[in-house]
């Protein structure tokens, strides 16, 4: 052991504590930590990397022949839906990640540091935002490989991705609330699945709403996932059977997608912050 440990106190820090600059630095540090985790355990990200490829190929080839899409082929119809489907289900990662953090010893270290608690959630949802961009991109690349084409070219794709990623960000805050409400990551995963898969399926993501039973149609029409799917189809320039239906959400998918995303965030962000506070002070 070398010379006396230098424990002289330094009063100063690079940016004043509590300032916005220091908050961003904390969020960046926590995001980097989550990315380091992914590098060590890439399997963590399989629902954003493997699932998109698998589902895209499976759905297009298994359902493709049987489905009749007014105005186009199933392949051209489905890719937009697969983007929103996959990024929605992959937000389960936020629930699991938040729950795992709360269960680990690391949270006890964070609780004695002069950091903003909110940075923990911001860092988690931001790294999951990056994951959803990756997920969406993989769906589009897979689609492109098997023959999908965006009628509106690259600008349409970028616009569509922006809407999709906004929605995924909102959903990850919802999933953060789930993660903060359960006791362990396994429960978080279970509940996440239970919540996300029905939402993702009872929508226009994988099938035109016209084919659903009468009672299910209004649910599917007002489902935010349908709004995002419709937005993507319009923006990408792909066949959009929902546009044939005469109701507000079907006629204004982009507006609905943005409104839903902002509404979900407006509700879930404060709840998540309150729940984190409750879970980290006893």
């Amino acid at each position: 052991m070398t010379a006396t440990l230098d424990t002289r106190t330094t009063g100063s820090r690079p940016s004043p504590p509590g300032s916005l600059g220091s908050w961003w630095r904390q969020v960046a540090a926590l995001t980097r930590r989550n990315l380091w985790h992914v590098r060590r355990e890439p399997a963590q990200l399989s629902d954003a990397t493997v699932q998109p490829v698998l589902f895209t190929v499976l759905f297009v080839y298994i359902f493709g022949a049987a489905m009749v899409i007014p105005g186009g082929t199933y392949k051209q119809f489905a890719i937009a839906g697969l983007v929103v489907f996959n990024i929605t289900t992959s937000t389960m990662g936020t629930a699991v990640g938040v729950s795992a953090d709360l269960k680990s010893g690391v949270i006890d270290r964070f609780r004695t540091l002069p950091m903003a608690r909110s940075a923990i959630l911001a860092g988690r949802t931001f790294s999951d935002l990056l994951a959803s961009i990756l997920c969406a991109t993989i769906v589009l690349l897979t689609g492109f490989v098997i023959g999908w084409r965006p009628g509106n070219g690259l600008p349409g794709v970028v616009a569509g991705l922006a809407v999709a990623v906004l929605f995924a960000y909102a959903m990850s805050w919802l999933m953060a609330c789930v993660g903060l409400s359960v006791g362990d990551p396994e429960s978080a995963q279970g509940i996440g699945l239970l919540v996300l898969f029905p939402i993702a399926f009872v929508s226009s993501a994988m099938v035109p709403i016209q084919g659903m039973p009468g009672w299910m149609q209004p649910i599917a029409e007002w489902n935010p996932v349908s709004a995002v799917a419709g937005s993507l189809r319009e923006l990408f320039g792909n066949p959009n059977p929902a546009a044939l239906r005469d109701n507000f959400p079907s006629q204004n998918p982009v507006l609905m997608a943005i409104v839903w995303s902002l509404a979900i965030m407006a509700v879930c962000i404060p709840i998540a912050r309150a729940r984190l506070k409750a879970r980290t002070v006893d």
Partner: protein, 332 residues
């Protein structure tokens, strides 16, 4: 006028559900001092530390650390403290260096400063060889050292060590003591909780003894040991012999007790080189055969027995954040 205490707790109280973890704890630590909080499992040591480090809100009482109130100004307290507990608060999937860098950045250091500080601490704790290995691969002793390093990243004025050597093997324990001793030479104020009298004795300037959520004694190690008698010899003779006490008296540090009808003797001693040999020789010269001779070191049980009239209790379950290491270390 004396300096204001660096740590001040008055009437702290905390109940978890039905269980009163801390009943009424008051203590005071001067700047640069090391206070040892000594007590068995379930005494309320960890809960007291949690209240002083803003992790837990006291139900009653108040506490001030480095001039900041723990309830009213928690962030200010966190800026000046470092905390290490029994459970390492490390991220298993990150390397040692990454763990320290993360703590640095979250404490407000720039990335470059955090990285430099990490290198410095890894060197000082002799962990450079494992800096780029995942903490998952570290031994228990290495984890504790890294965790202690993490609590020092921001150069805290006040350091809280909650049972720093519980569950460690003897070598790691001694090593940790050395580290802690060097730590405080610079004037950091330290509050250290422990269940081991020898640890409190070795490291602390003053000791507060805590039992069932109350402080039952306070003083220097010497004062405490004086009240319980310090080290003593226990000698068992082959048969009772009334000359033994007289033979022993010159070598003892106090009155010799004769028990079991003269067959056993107890004598307080000042441990020193050659003492036991001298005792055996003295008894041998007097023609008194000795069956067994034992040096008895004062233990937490002795302290407790003398202060409370009963032994340190069996572990009372503190809330679940305590590790199972508690159950591995029965009260001595």
């Amino acid at each position: 006028m004396t300096d204001a205490p660096e740590i001040l707790a008055e009437g702290l109280r905390k109940t978890y559900g039905e269980q009163l973890a801390v009943a009424d704890v008051s203590l005071s630590v001067a700047p640069g001092e090391i206070l040892g909080v000594l007590g068995p499992n379930g005494a309320g040591k960890s809960t007291t530390v949690r209240m002083l480090t803003t992790m837990t809100r006291p139900d009653a009482g108040r506490a001030v650390v480095a001039g900041h109130d723990v309830a009213g100004d928690a962030q200010a307290v966190r800026r000046v403290i470092g905390v290490t507990g029994q459970d390492a608060t490390l991220d298993e999937l990150l390397t040692g260096a990454q763990n320290l860098e993360l703590v640095g950045e979250l404490s407000g250091l720039s990335r470059r400063t955090a990285r430099a500080r990490a290198v410095e601490l890894l060197d000082q704790f002799e962990l450079t060889f494992a800096a780029d290995r995942m903490v998952k691969t570290y031994s228990g002793g290495m984890r504790r050292r890294l965790d202690l390093g993490a609590s020092l990243v921001a150069r805290p004025r006040v350091l809280f060590l909650d049972e720093p050597t519980t569950g460690l093997d003897p070598t790691s324990r001694v090593r940790m003591w050395e580290v802690i001793r060097r730590l405080v030479a610079d004037g950091t104020t330290v509050m250290l909780t422990t269940q081991y009298l020898d640890e409190a004795d070795t490291l602390a300037d003053r000791i507060s003894v805590i039992d069932h959520g109350l402080v039952i004694a306070e003083g220097t190690a010497r004062e405490l040991k004086a009240s319980i008698g310090g080290e003593h010899l226990e000698i068992t003779l082959e048969q009772p012999d009334e000359r033994a006490a007289a033979a022993l008296a010159p070598l003892a540090a106090g009155p010799v007790q004769v028990i079991e009808g003269g067959k056993r003797l107890r004598a307080p001693i000042v441990p020193q080189h050659g003492l036991v040999t001298a005792v055996v020789r003295a008894l041998d010269d007097a023609g008194i055969p000795v069956d067994d001779i034992e040096i008895h070191h004062p233990s937490l049980d002795d302290v407790f027995f003398s202060l409370t009239g009963h032994a340190a209790e069996e572990p009372v379950a503190e809330p679940t954040y305590e590790t199972s290491a508690d159950e591995l270390m029965p009260t001595r």
